[in-house]
Symmetry: C2
Subunit: 335 residues, 2 copies
């Protein structure tokens, strides 16, 4: 393994000069001719700096710790793409960790990530609405910050006391509801996602309240996992009552797709017999038939902002930026 001092030797200069040839240095300068000799030697020897040593010796950490529920879920992988863009923006690399929905596992992962001494931590995903869970998560993040000096940002709701990219689920869901009210739908049901999931609840609430305010009548919300199968199951439950609502709102696209499948299996046609709307506007789902009415979120952009916020957070106060969604009416809710 070739080290910087090998390079220095090969170039006939001191270790310090070699180091400066690469990173420059506050005030010290290196004669261009020497600098070239060092670089050339490095190339010849195939030298690559040792990141661990650099970090230990006092370089700024350059890694972005990214914590998601499940990287295979398109919602998270799109955000991850944005986070990566944000990281390359300052020459950082991203380290990835998945946790599932469990708060315990999130806390566990956050504590483990402390060893990396990352520059920033980005935590993505809806939280459980449990006072105790939230409190523990808050503490874990606070510890993380004070302990590693890293910046922290959360993508979700502003309830963690850290910088957050707050998705305005409630307002966007309400917008969606109003757009649908305008089409004349009134009897509706909601596939409300996991019980006690903050994001799911916000979307569900925003939609329901706006619908009710518009004079619509609601079915009892049906809970289910935040997945295709969860949506499928929830829709099956909802339809099993025999009474088909005019409109069903699933709190995310993946569930909506499962719901449409469940409807199809029972011979309930979308959008003729029932209309279905989702949330997120997942790119991969853009072409399902009937095309899905949903709320568009710029997921990559959200990921990139999160990195930026986390970076800023290192020096200033926690900030929260609210990002909205835009309603996209498509075939699945055609009158």
């Amino acid at each position: 393994m070739v080290t910087l001092s090998d390079v220095a030797k090969a170039a006939g200069v001191s270790l310090a000069t070699a180091s400066r040839a690469f990173n420059g240095s506050k005030d010290r300068h290196v004669r261009p001719e020497l600098r070239d000799r060092v670089i050339e030697a490095a190339r010849r020897l195939n030298y690559a700096p040792n990141a661990a040593a650099q970090q230990l010796a006092g370089g700024e950490p350059r890694s972005v710790a990214l914590v998601v529920h499940n990287i295979a879920d398109p919602y998270f992988s799109s955000i991850a793409a944005g986070v990566e863009r944000g990281a390359t923006g300052f020459g950082g690399i991203v380290t990835l960790a998945s946790t599932g929905l469990s708060t315990d596992s999130q806390i566990q992962v956050i504590e483990t990530l402390r060893r990396q001494r990352p520059r920033v931590l980005v935590l993505v995903g809806g939280l459980q609405d449990d006072r105790d869970d939230l409190q523990r998560l808050r503490e874990a993040l606070a510890d993380f910050k004070t302990f590693t000096g890293a910046g922290v940002a959360h993508v979700g709701q502003p309830v963690l006391g850290v910088s957050t990219v707050a998705i305005d689920n409630e307002a966007a869901a309400a917008d969606l509801a109003r757009a649908l009210l305008a089409q004349g739908f009134t009897r509706f049901g909601v596939l409300a996602g996991p019980e006690g999931h903050l994001t799911a609840a916000a979307r569900s609430r925003g939609f329901t309240e706006a619908m009710l305010a518009g004079g619509a009548t609601a079915r009892e919300p049906v809970h289910g996992e935040f997945t295709r199968d969860g949506g499928h199951q929830a829709m099956a439950d909802l339809l099993s009552s025999g009474d088909v609502p005019e409109l069903v709102f699933a709190v995310n696209d993946v569930m909506a797709v499962g719901a449409m499948a469940a409807a199809r299996e029972r011979g309930v046609r979308v959008p003729d017999d029932v209309r279905v709307a989702g949330f997120d506007d997942i790119l991969t789902l853009r072409d399902i038939t009937p095309s899905l009415t949903t709320v568009h979120l710029d997921l990559e952009e959200i990921g990139e902002s999160a990195v930026q916020l986390a970076l800023d957070d290192q020096h200033g106060e926690p900030r929260t930026v609210v990002v909205g969604g835009s309603v996209v009416l498509r075939e699945s809710t055609r009158r």
Copy 2:
């Protein structure tokens, strides 16, 4: 920032003892009572080991470098989920890098990743069929191995001289072709993906040759990007000739979906006027209508095997395991 020697001091022991209390040590043992005192002190002080220091001091590297084309693409994010599982299997963390399709960018990323001194590197994704490109990539990987001592594995074709999880695209595509021949389709077209992409070419070739062997007649293959829009465009090109083939094979699901959209837009019905098949069996696409005939790949499993292979590669010879796909006939190719 609390260090191990702080913990040692707080526990009233030496640095060495504190270290051994955590990691044990070959022969040296530490009295349980002392060990507890150290652990307790660590907990009190909120100590977290410094991974960089550990690595520098000679610990085994614990990171898995994962290189993909695009993490937002479900093909890669599913494999990434598997890689992550494989990494947690040995207490490792994964660092993520995206490259797009360009070989230059892949090489660039691989060289940058050397700084991390990861335990293993997993390179995922089809390659460009360019002798020079392949050669350079081969060298980059070889250098990577000899310089970092890391294990390397590739997911794709066994053409890089490293351990690889070789997806038998050609055979699986041929299986698909035969299954479709059995349904009586003969006039077919292929949306062949990016020009010079090895994986795309293998799938295209396997399918085409099996079809021709079965007496079918082929249209000129149409190239296009490995994306929804690429499939859309390619299908539009293919249809613009006016003559609609009975069957169109897109070299991956994402393209197939774009192709179906293009057909729909022109009033060409699937599967009534044309049948469409894809490849990969992307979970998120499982519910599109008509449901997509495709080749199922266990992507997560593939990712996990890749990590295992890379780990083994550290000590033994490069191995390659071939994984097959299984044909899944669905609605999009119904007779």
